[in-house]
């Protein structure tokens, strides 16, 4: 459905996107991950035909693509990160959507608008000025606008950025629903936790280069290298940490007040061994808990420091 070959974009001497090769089949939810400034937006802009590539080729629907291909552009929908601030504030939601429906020369536009608004729960505010909409409502309205012309591909740029948890869930449900109807969805984000819940395959971009591309399950397995065991003790002797570090299965150990935190490999269960060791040291474990390294804690923002962790995943294609 979406293919790029050696896609490149340079702004003067700065290379924003460097020979990116993508191959996204139809019906997939594809995640495009990377920190801010990695080249995600530039890539999307080229895929949308808004920005002209410096080099490389784009094919959509198995046809060469450029901004002049209106017939192909009509099969794409785009939800930007933010609705343009302060624009069209005089319009109601219905009028706003009507404008886009007219742009696409849709037949029975009103029926389509009503149906989509109903789906996202905005039917009652059709005649409300959308300048009065909340962030979540605006995002949903943006979705409706992007879906008006029934596109085959939906591009989403940071779709949940700035939303509250309820809004995040609504958008997530919408994405999954649209995918079930057969739409290919391309999501660009730096929030791995949400991507985990919806994406089937992800690519990681950093410094304009595609660092890795893999199925989501493989990616999670790679990321979740470490686990922690938290042991609450009556008291934490100073020499205990050094002793625990010497254990074979222990990668690292630290103390936090009366809690011993021990890092262990992600495979295997080492609670019994640790517990036995502590008892042998005449210590009484009050509680012992295993914590998998939370994806949100580690990867809520993919920083540049962490990017090397991904360098070995999947490899560049």
């Amino acid at each position: 459905m979406i293919q790029t070959r050696n896609l490149t974009k340079r702004y003067g001497s700065f290379t924003a996107v460097d020979t990116v090769n993508l191959n996204i089949p139809a019906g997939e939810i594809y995640g495009f991950l990377g920190p801010n400034g990695a080249g995600k937006t530039s890539t999307i802009m080229m895929l949308l035909g808004i920005v002209k590539p410096t080099a490389g080729e784009i094919r959509l629907f198995d046809e060469p693509y450029s901004s002049k291909r209106l017939d192909l552009r009509r099969r794409i929908g785009m939800v930007p990160e933010k609705h343009p601030v302060g624009m069209w504030t005089w319009m109601t939601a219905g009028e706003y959507l009507q404008m886009f429906a007219e742009l696409f020369s849709l037949e029975e536009a009103n029926r389509r608008i009503d149906h989509l608004l109903e789906r996202v729960g905005l039917a009652e505010v059709k005649n409300k000025k959308f300048s009065e909409f909340s962030r979540g409502m605006l995002q949903k309205l943006s979705f409706v606008r992007a879906l008006l012309h029934d596109p085959d591909i939906l591009f989403l740029d940071e779709p949940i950025s700035g939303l509250d948890p309820f809004g995040v869930k609504q958008i997530r449900d919408l994405i999954l629903e649209e995918n079930r109807e057969g739409r290919t969805i391309f999501i660009s984000s730096h929030i791995l936790s949400e991507m985990e819940k919806v994406c089937q395959r992800v690519a990681i971009i950093f410094g304009g280069k595609l660092m890795a591309e893999d199925q989501m399950k493989s990616l999670l397995t790679t990321l979740a290298k470490d686990r922690e065991i938290h042991v609450d003790l009556e008291e934490l002797p100073a020499e205990l940490i050094a002793k625990v570090k010497k254990l074979k299965f222990v990668q690292d150990a630290i103390g936090a007040e009366k809690t011993l935190i021990v890092k262990v490999p992600k495979t295997g269960d080492y609670r019994k061994e640790l517990s036995k060791y502590l008892i042998d040291q005449n210590l009484v474990p009050l509680s012992i808990q295993e914590k998998s390294l939370s994806l949100e804690e580690a990867f809520v923002t993919i920083t540049k420091e962490n990017i090397n962790l991904f360098a070995g995943i999947g490899g560049e294609k």
């Binding site: 808004i50 933010k82 343009p84 601030v85 302060g86 005089w90 319009m91 742009l103 696409f104 992007a146």
Partner: protein, 289 residues
């Protein structure tokens, strides 16, 4: 219908509707009409047994002396030879012209910056259909205002036994086409820049530059100022809408109708060329800020 034309028409309808439901346009019209009323009323009060004498009315005395000082007595004599309406037309037109031109430039820059223009281009619209829609809106709003102004002045004339002379009508037509050229330069300034402030600065700078060159070569001040302005004018004139405006008015004074319409056509041609350059610029620079 061609896709760009369709997108232009859809966007133009929205821009027109937006202008018609916003207070700015009506306020600008009211300011223009009030200025017109003041100028016509002042003229009536400055008429005595021998004709129009600007010293009889304070406001007109100030205007008259300033114009005489800058452009000479002949200029003032010609300006008021058919009554107050020629001068009134230019002054009363300014508020609406400025409002439409500056607001469009501001809007273009703002929409580019916040991504509204980009949003439109996700669909079948592009930068060119966007600015053509704005242009159509400005042209229509200008035409509406000129009709309103014409009616207002006609009624004011009827009430006071004043008539709209031939120079007024020629100037009305040429003013309409002059405004199109000015809007075109506004679009050009917006296509060159990334935000409203820069766009307005470029646009106003360009227009002021054209005005200063025109006025400088027109002034009665002798010596260096006029000589410099004349040299600059000779270079700039080909891209200045004011040059073609002046050309058309000179021909109409001579009764040379063919050349008057050629002057109008050249003004239109200038607009088309500037719009075409804007189209190329926006195509090259893109719609993102």
């Amino acid at each position: 219908m061609n896709q760009r034309a369709h997108a232009t028409s859809v966007l133009a309808k929205r821009r027109i509707l937006e202008t018609l439901i916003s207070p700015g346009y009506y306020v600008a019209q009211t300011i223009g009409l009030v200025l017109a009323y003041l100028l016509v009323a002042g003229f009536v009060r400055a008429v005595d047994s021998s004709g129009f004498n600007y010293t009889l009315n304070q406001a007109y005395e100030l205007i008259g002396r300033s114009l005489v000082g800058a452009f000479g007595a002949t200029f003032v004599e010609k300006l008021f030879s058919e009554g107050p309406f020629l001068f009134t037309l230019y002054i009363a037109f300014l508020p609406v012209l400025l409002y439409l031109a500056v607001s469009s430039v501001f809007r273009f820059g703002l929409e580019k910056k916040v991504g509204a223009l980009e949003l439109l281009t996700y669909g079948p619209a592009d930068g060119t259909s966007y600015f053509l829609a704005a242009l159509i809106k400005d042209i229509l709003m200008t035409a509406i205002y000129l009709v309103v102004l014409l009616l207002f002045l006609f009624i004011a004339g009827l009430l006071n036994n004043l008539i709209l002379g031939p120079s007024f009508y020629y100037s009305l037509v040429i003013l309409f086409f002059l405004s199109i050229a000015i809007y075109a330069y506004g679009i050009f300034a917006s296509s060159l820049t990334d935000n409203s402030a820069s766009a307005i600065a470029v646009f106003l700078g360009l227009i002021l530059f054209f005005i200063i060159i025109m006025m400088g070569s027109f002034t009665v001040v002798s010596g260096y100022v006029r000589n410099l302005a004349s040299v600059l004018a000779w270079i700039i004139k080909w891209i200045s809408p004011l040059f073609y405006w002046d050309l058309a008015l000179r021909f109409v004074e001579m009764g040379n109708w063919g050349m008057y319409f050629i002057g109008v056509a050249l003004l239109l041609l200038l607009s088309v060329v500037v719009l075409f350059i804007s189209h190329l610029t926006i195509k090259t620079r893109g719609v993102r800020a």
